[in-house]
């Protein structure tokens, strides 16, 4: 049985996928997760999740049918606008 392990490096930080492991039951999975991700003080918390419980979304791409460039910020030079605003406010 495959288990996915998520680890938190420091309190308050998001959990990130650490890797997967094979174990016959939850008890073994916990022991191995501690062994692989907890013995060098590299994690403050661990989640073990049976892989079966993870649902993979088949088509994660949400198509952009219409041209909505205006919703993106990459065409817009914030740097310049910011400089102008700062000059006006005299905080540059």
């Amino acid at each position: 049985m495959i288990w996915e392990v998520f680890r938190q490096e420091r309190e308050g930080q998001p959990f990130q996928h650490g890797g997967s492991l094979e174990a016959p039951n939850l008890e073994f999975a916990e022991a191995y997760a501690v062994e692989f991700y907890g013995r060098r003080a590299e994690s403050v918390a661990l989640w073990v999740v049976p892989r079966d419980a993870v649902r993979e979304i088949e088509d994660p791409y949400v198509a952009d049918v219409f041209d909505r460039d205006y919703r993106r910020v990459d065409g817009y030079s914030l740097k310049l606008k910011l400089k102008e605003a700062r000059d006006r406010a005299g905080t540059a």
Partner: protein, 217 residues
Amino acid sequence: MQAPPETAVEAVLAFADDELVLGWRDSEWTGIAPFLEEDVAFSSIAQGEIGHARALFELAAGARGGGGDELAFDREPGEYRCAPFVELQLVHDWAATVARHWLYETADSIRVAALMESDWAEVAGLAAKMDREEAYHRMHAQMWFERLSGDERFEAALAELWPYALGVLEEDQRGRLVELAGREPVEPVERGSHVDGFAALHEEMTMVRRSVPGATW
């Protein structure tokens, strides 16, 4: 500080020898354990035992003079005080290995608890530190014990190893092991002699160090 009594130093040395030799035997599984996760976990436990041995040897060396490495590797096979239990070569028999692991950790919990009460403050401190790591070893041993319990090979191995396990502990601690292991008292296989394979193990264990005597590594 008053020098610790010789009997206490002897006990620490016997404990160190147990941990070193068991660590060695357990490490023989590295690369060939039943599956990858267990390979990593069991190798790590083996290293844990050797780490404990190192701390114990240094403590004994501090009381006696000399260094931990000399105690660990420069003695003659006949000078080692380890219990025959830890010397048995069980590699290729996972059921027997788990049986020894569980019996040893159970016995060790009794020994470590007793040392935590030692008048020798450094030993008590070290035992407390070891106990934190041993808790993980015990959890690992217990989950395997539960998984293999009732299996014919495993039960046979437990029965065969039981007299050896009793020999790890001082006489006054054995009753507690009988209770914890839930087995009948039997004639223990005592410390003081070595199993046939010990000479070969010693040869291998000290091989590199003997190749350049006195070197600083």
